[in-house]
């Protein structure tokens, strides 16, 4: 009986992230539009877009190989699994032992690898440019991400997100400069990985500097719907991870009662929506940087990770 309950809770989390992801994109777009004094589409517009795309026919280039056809499914599956592993409303779910940050980074890398291959597959110029840029950004973002992960795991003595969140909630961590640096670094990595504004502009196809949109330019119909949903899930994943590590309060602890679970379920979308609004605010206040500046941006994130680890070493020995 208990096992069924655990499986249900985990299954609910999988569906929760899937349901919340397009809404998050909708909220970010809506807040951005309002900040620019436009009305903007409804927050539910991404759902309608996805349904419309899913109904449309798929157009595939003549020289596309099987790789091009399976990539959307692989990308979606890998990112969905990663997003469903990050604790959202409760800690200690049945699969939380596998919610290791390094596993999540690995799943994201898998998705990116296939997406890059598919971008090169058709052989168009845009796909090639987008792919090479994506790989450049990834090769810089991943070390920074791992450095931050190491800092957090040094602090919490675990690389499992569930244990890190549990540590942050229960132990008196206090104000730590390392946590602040790790937060800043993780936000920078998240911006770069999701192709948000200072690094890449998700709203346009008309820019020569586009990265992610250039890579998926050849996709249409349900394939495009899957890839769009996957990128929405990826943004949700990063926000959930930030929320889970740095603002874990309100999440239900292991084996908590139904009331605590309910609080967690209500609080999670609220936190994610607040994160989305903050992202929108950031996006309208900064200008997109040149592609060559991204190197410095991500180096800074790596530096923050290193510095956080170093300062942690200093403060730990006291």
């Amino acid at each position: 009986m208990a096992i069924i309950q655990y499986l249900l809770l985990q299954g609910f989390q999988m569906l929760l992230v899937l349901a919340v992801a397009p809404l998050l994109i909708g909220i970010v777009r809506r807040v951005k539009a309002r900040l620019l004094r436009r009305i903007g589409p409804s927050v539910f517009q991404p759902y309608r877009d996805l349904i419309r795309l899913a109904r449309k026919d798929v157009v595939v280039a003549h020289n596309a190989s099987w790789l091009f056809l399976v990539t959307p499914y692989i990308v979606f599956a890998a990112i969905w699994v990663a997003a469903a592993l990050v604790p959202t409303y409760a800690l200690g779910l049945i699969f939380s032992w596998s919610a290791d940050i390094i596993v999540i980074v690995g799943l994201l890398a898998l998705a990116r690898f296939f997406q890059a291959l598919a971008g090169l597959d058709v052989g168009t110029a845009f796909g090639g440019i987008g792919t090479s840029r994506e790989m450049m950004i990834a090769s810089l973002a991943e070390p920074a991400m791992l450095m931050i992960v190491f800092t957090l795991s040094l602090l919490a003595q675990s690389t499992q997100l569930s244990s890190i969140a549990h540590y942050m909630m229960t132990v008196q961590v206090g104000l730590r400069v390392s946590c602040g640096l790790a937060l800043m670094g993780l936000v920078m990595v998240a911006i770069a990985e999701n192709g948000r504004v200072p690094v890449d502009n998700p709203a346009t196809h008309l820019e020569l500097t586009m990265v992610h949109e250039a890579m998926i330019l050849e996709y249409s119909g349900r394939h495009l719907a899957l890839i769009e949903l996957a990128s929405a899930l990826k943004l949700t994943l990063y926000l959930s991870m930030l929320v889970c590590v740095f603002v874990p309060w309100g999440m239900a602890l292991t084996d908590a009662g139904p009331l605590a679970l309910l609080v967690g379920v209500v609080l999670y979308p609220a936190k994610i929506a607040a994160g989305g609004a903050a992202l929108a605010l950031l996006e309208v206040t900064v200008a997109k940087m040149r592609v060559f500046r991204v190197v410095d941006f991500l180096n800074f994130a790596l530096m923050l990770g290193l510095l956080a680890a170093l300062l942690l070493f200093v403060s730990r020995s006291i």
Binding site: L155, Q157, V171, Q172, G174, L175, R176, V177, S178, G180, L181, V295, D296, N299, F300, M303, L304, L306, L307, L310, L311, F313, V314, S315, R316, S317, I318
Partner: protein, 222 residues
């Protein structure tokens, strides 16, 4: 396992660490106005750190030092520099000697060095170790800023951050006489005047604030 320590320590730690972070931001910046704004931020964090130490140690002279830092370093000096840059019309000068990535790497190494050099203190007084290693890191990062800039304004900013690091060290050390704080603050002011004259002179002679023009100068016509 890290031990839970008091809020007093946490805040001091965060402010000192914040200064190190702002030093890194200074290292990263290549626009002059941004540099000036960040040096003001640097001094502001210093003011907070001094104020917090004053409250912790219940030392009136540190309040005075904090006030001096706020008035001179966070307000007056950035304002003067800002005006100078605008008057000389060098807002858009962007000059670094080595790339940002390399500089960052050096910076990280220097912070590591600062921590290791102060390691003998760790056994005696961990708190002192932590304070002094952060202060030393800020000082060394300031020196790094000075050597990686070609622009005289950038070098002045580096000097000012070295100065801020010294103030931080003075605040952490218990029983440092106020005279030393005062003389450090005063030396910064004197330096500002000297730098101001230096800047306007090299600009008048060479039409640029790139100090490399000084290397080529042989005493005759530039």
């Amino acid at each position: 396992m890290p031990v839970a320590h008091g809020l007093a320590f946490d805040v001091a730690h965060m402010l000192a660490g914040g200064m190190v972070t702002v030093s890194f931001m200074l290292l990263f910046q290549d626009r002059l106005f941004a540099l000036i704004q960040f040096i003001a931020l640097h001094a502001l964090v210093l003011t907070l750190a001094l104020g917090w130490q004053a409250w912790l140690q219940d030392a009136e002279h540190l309040y005075a030092a904090a006030a001096l830092a706020l008035v001179f370093k966070a307000t007056l000096i950035p304002w003067v520099l800002h005006r100078l840059v605008r008057r000389l019309r060098i807002e858009r000068a962007v000059e670094t000697v080595v790339g940002a990535g390399m500089t960052m790497l050096f910076g990280i190494c220097l912070v590591g060095l600062a921590v290791v050099v102060m390691l003998p203190l760790a056994a005696k007084s961990p708190l002192m170790w932590e304070d002094l290693s952060f202060a030393l890191a800020v000082v060394m990062l300031g020196l790094l800023i000075m050597i990686t800039r070609r622009n005289a304004v950038g070098q002045i900013i580096g000097f000012l951050s070295v100065d801020n690091g010294m103030m931080l060290a003075a605040a952490g050390a218990h029983g440092m006489p106020f005279l030393i704080d005062l003389s450090i603050a005063f030396s910064a002011l004197v330096a500002l005047i000297v730098f101001g004259i230096f800047l306007s002179h090299i600009f008048k002679h060479f039409d640029s604030v790139d100090v490399h023009t000084l290397d080529r100068f042989r005493g005759d016509q530039p």
